[in-house]
């Protein structure tokens, strides 16, 4: 017998008047998974989350939680809790009262509530702050209270709506590993919404990349990064050099393409392709290597343009011809010996699996 999915969406759709915010979204999330909805603002990821929580009604489709249909239940009847973007901590209640609120609503006894609240407070390390009001806490502490409050009743599913976006960079990075730890320790299934790809890549078991109300690709972080399904995903996740190309020859896994500027490049793809089709070749900047001498293997020839120092790396602009340029990123530690100057003639080494072909 197969393990039940924590949540499954079947053809979920949401219309606001004439505008379709979500069109026909279908996917399953496994029990105990850290699942991320990633996309630019306005892509529908928050709307989808709100439908799962019950704040928005679905226009069509089914939502099942461990096999039970829930799309018609009000939010207070769903064993799903949410960590809100601005936390929405009740300002007139103390930390303790906030965390215990759901338990009081569920009719727990006073002593059970006290025990559970103490446990949650210890989990998020806020023992000294239990009698404070939210306004007396820092942003990071409020974040922890919001997490503890949402997890107190042991929900079957925890929804997190851009919970880290209000924190500063350093705290945000700390909270990433903290969240991951909490998810592992509690075994609760997480659905995490973010527009920050670094957050998504570093925390998730799987990611659904969304754009204009549709799921563009679902996969684990390296699948999403290394083998994007289309031009949108390649462009949105990380940086990518995107080159228009036409397929000239197919040799097993190898797809030999001709770039607009005339050069020939060997690439790979996950889509079924035919000779003559046009598409986009995506190359990650860090997969290109700059060499001064001609060498055996696949390369593109160009002139060195502007270089930008960005701490650990240096970013170079390589001009292939008047219109076409590529971005290359190299670690500074591997650059020490050679000296690159603007206008130098260089050769870009491209491994066979560095170029990824995407059908238009």
């Amino acid at each position: 017998m197969a393990i039940k999915d924590a949540i499954s969406l079947e053809g979920v759709r949401k219309d606001f008047g004439d505008f379709t915010a979500i069109s026909n979204v279908t996917f399953d999330i496994a029990d105990n998974e850290f699942f991320t909805l990633l996309g630019p603002s306005g892509c529908g990821k928050t709307t989808l989350l709100r439908m799962i929580a019950g704040f928005e009604e679905t226009s069509a489709g089914k939502i099942k939680l461990y096999g039970d249909i829930i799309e018609n239940l009000p939010p207070n009847k769903r064993p799903i809790n949410t960590v809100f973007q601005n936390y929405a901590l009740f300002p007139h209640m103390t930390v303790k009262e906030n965390i215990g609120f759901s338990l009081k609503m569920l009719g727990w006894s006073k002593s059970d509530i006290n025990d559970r609240v103490a446990e949650m407070v210890a989990m998020v390390k806020l023992e000294e702050f239990t009698d404070r009001k939210p306004s007396q806490l820092s942003g990071g502490q409020q974040q922890r209270v919001a997490l503890a409050r949402a997890m107190a009743s042991k929900p079957k599913l925890l929804l997190l709506d851009e919970p880290l976006s209000a924190l500063d960079l350093k705290l945000r990075k700390e909270m990433r590993s903290e969240l991951k730890r909490l998810q592992r320790d509690t075994g609760i299934t997480f659905i995490f919404v973010t527009h920050d790809q670094e957050e998504a890549l570093s925390m998730s078991d799987r990611i659904a990349v969304m754009s204009s109300g549709k799921v563009q690709q679902i996969g684990n972080p390296s699948e999403i990064y290394d083998t994007p399904a289309n031009r949108f995903v390649a462009d949105f996740i990380g940086e990518a050099n995107l080159l228009n190309a036409t397929i000239q020859k197919i040799d097993g896994e190898k797809i030999i393409c001709r770039l607009q500027s005339g050069q020939i490049l060997t690439s790979k793809s996950s889509s079924k392709v035919n000779v003559g089709q046009s598409g986009t070749i995506s190359i990650r900047p860090e997969k290109l290597i700059i060499k001064k001498q001609n060498f055996k293997g696949q390369y593109l020839e160009g002139k060195l343009g502007q270089s930008t120092y960005i701490g650990t790396d240096t970013q170079f602009e390589i001009l292939l011809d008047k219109e076409l340029s590529l971005t290359v990123r190299m670690q500074n530690s591997s650059l020490t010996s050679e000296n690159y100057k603007n206008g130098d003639q260089v050769f870009l080494s491209i491994a066979d699996d560095a170029a990824w072909f995407l059908l238009d």
């Binding site: 019950g54 009000p74 207070n76 809790n81 601005n86 929405a88 759901s102 609503m105 409050r149 949402a150």
Partner: protein
């Protein structure tokens, strides 16, 4: 160092007069229209009365004595507590409380309704709430009298639809006065509550619902406690003017609904013509209101901590 001190001096020498002149209008308004009249009343309340209005400049406690004690027809009996005026006071508090409760019951849902409309229709609803206040209070109170009198439209409608057989006795009752006060001061309840609801983040309600709270619990435990300052402000803004009102009690009530406002009015322009007594009653009313406000302010500041 020297330059710093120098610039500091020029700052203060140009800054002080500017601040003084800019604040002048406020000081004048507060002085002439608030402090001076209240001070005048305070002084008058300790003076001797002149028949048919006016005062004689002879200090006495007679006005306060008249309010609190009964010394018989000729003033030489042993003093007893005078209940006449105290009961007018108590009745005023009762009437004002009734009007405040009525305003709250109608005003809160109204404010909630307006606050949850979309941006465009909000403006229209707010406008509609304030429209009656473009008409003079006297005219509105008279029309209310016309509406609820024995043979008025309200009674006729109720009889026509068969809800009642004989006309309801509404006019000259406590309820009529409360209705009149309610109608006079409803916007003072609606607007502060609306303002508080505008600031209320409805994500709190969503969060409570997400944490298994049913609708009524959200209202009682989340929404009302958070917008409480707006509700209390509305109650004060209705209660305080209701307490001193004289139009609604005069026109809609009878002798049995005589309120403190009418008592004071009577002393200055009516038959009684006893200025010190009117001033003393005003001072007692003012102290009562101040006690309520100070109590509220203290409760507020305690909650902040």
């Amino acid at each position: 160092m020297a330059a710093g001190a120098g610039s500091g001096r020029t700052m203060s020498s140009t800054f002080l007069p500017v601040r003084f002149w800019l604040l002048m209008p406020s000081w004048l308004i507060i002085g002439f229209f608030l402090a001076l009249p209240v001070l005048l009343m305070l002084v008058y309340s300790f003076l001797t009365k002149e028949f048919r209005g006016g005062v004689i400049w002879e200090p006495t406690l007679a006005a306060y004595d008249q309010f609190l004690f009964d010394r018989g027809l000729f003033g030489d009996d042993p003093p007893q507590i005078e209940w006449k005026y105290i009961s007018i006071f108590l009745r005023s508090i009762f009437q004002a409380t009734g009007a405040t409760i009525l305003c709250l019951i109608i005003g809160f849902p109204t404010a909630f309704f307006i606050a949850t409309r979309n941006e465009n229709t909000k403006v229209i609803w707010l406008f509609l709430v304030t429209v009656p206040y473009w008409v003079n209070l006297l005219i509105r109170t008279v029309s209310m009298k016309f509406l609820i009198r024995d043979s008025g439209p309200l009674n006729e409608l109720l009889i026509t639809i068969g809800a009642i057989e004989t006309p309801l006795k509404l006019i000259n009752t406590n309820f009529a006065v409360q209705l009149g006060l309610f109608y006079s001061y409803l916007p003072f309840m609606v607007l502060p509550i609306y303002a508080a609801l505008e600031r209320y983040n409805f994500t709190f309600s969503e969060a409570a619902s997400d944490l298994y709270a049913p609708k009524w619990t959200i209202l009682r435990q989340i929404l009302i406690p958070i917008i409480k300052p707006g509700i209390i402000a509305g109650c004060i803004l209705v209660f305080v003017p209701s307490l001193g009102a004289f139009l609604a009690p005069d026109l809609l009530g009878g002798a049995k609904t005589f309120m403190i406002g009418s008592l004071i009015e009577d002393q200055f322009k009516g038959n009684a013509g006893n200025w010190p007594f009117g001033a003393a009653s005003s001072m007692i009313l003012l102290s009562l209101v101040m006690i309520v406000l100070i109590y509220y302010a203290r409760a507020q500041s305690k909650e902040q901590v």
